[in-house]
Amino acid sequence: MNNNTQHTHEDILIRRYFKEKRHQPRENKWFTHRVIHSLPRQQKVCKPASVIMTVVTIVATLMCCIVLWYASHNFYPLHENKFSGELLCIYIAIMSTILLVVQQIIQLIKTYF
């Protein structure tokens, strides 16, 4: 108990001392400016991987559009489950889109964790 009282007294003494005497940094309006200018240049995103991914995404989207357009104009009875070039195109387009979405999700997860 006595020890605690002494402890508290010392705490108050030190706190009071620091409140009176502590350093306050001088205002330096250039500090933030200096820090920002020391950072590496902001890159215009043009990494090979992202360029390839963009091209693949555009191609896959176009493929999807063409296949859908073709399917809507030449209705194909999917329930007959016959193998054909059109059906293969649809499968490829759907698979590409799914893979791209998964890839984007993985990239987002990597960014956060």
Partner: protein, 175 residues
């Protein structure tokens, strides 16, 4: 700054590399970090600004590793303390004779000289613990996170630092 605003700014820096958001974070946290260094270097303003700048640059590079488990201020103090320790190591390597820390500046007035003398009685760890606890009002758990030490060790540093400070204050007529 509200915690949610800070999170938004951090996310913008992480994902979009938004420099305006980063500048706002720097602007908000720089007084505390500069004050921390000012006490560690015992008033050397030029060194303080250099080390603080290095801290924020390191924050920029490591912000994607920040998981938000502690506040950004705690994370920043941690970077700052590591940078200060690296600085001491370099200083020791290049200047074996000079027993750091000795401020390489001209004191502004007696008041700053007085607090610098008081702080110079403490070791690096004691000084960090004492200033974080008494000036920045951080809890023992937070100081333990910043210094990457067990809470018991922090309490020991605080206790030893407190005794030295009390002794110094008593010897100089502060009661």
């Amino acid at each position: 700054m509200r915690r949610i605003d800070e999170k938004i700014l951090i996310t913008r820096v992480m994902i979009l590399d938004d420099r305006t958001a980063f500048a706002r974070l720097v602007e908000y946290h720089q007084p505390a970090i500069r004050r921390f260094f000012l006490h560690q270097t015992m008033g050397d303003e030029m060194l303080t600004d250099d080390l603080a700048q290095e801290t924020f640059i390191k924050l920029y590079y490591s912000i994607r590793q920040y998981k938000g488990l502690s506040g950004l201020a705690t994370y920043l103090y941690r970077i700052a303390f590591n940078i200060y320790q690296d600085h001491l190591r370099q200083k020791k390597a290049t200047d074996a004779i000079d027993d750091y820390p000795h401020p390489s500046y001209t004191p502004v007035n007696d008041v700053s000289m007085d607090i610098n003398q008081a702080l110079s009685t403490l070791s690096t760890h004691e000084r960090a613990c004492i200033t974080l606890h008494y000036i920045d009002d951080l809890k023992v758990e937070e100081i333990a996170q910043i210094l990457s030490m067990p809470q018991g060790t922090i309490k020991s540093h605080l206790s030893r630092g407190r005794n030295k400070m009390t002794q110094y204050l008593k010897n100089n007529g502060y009661e």
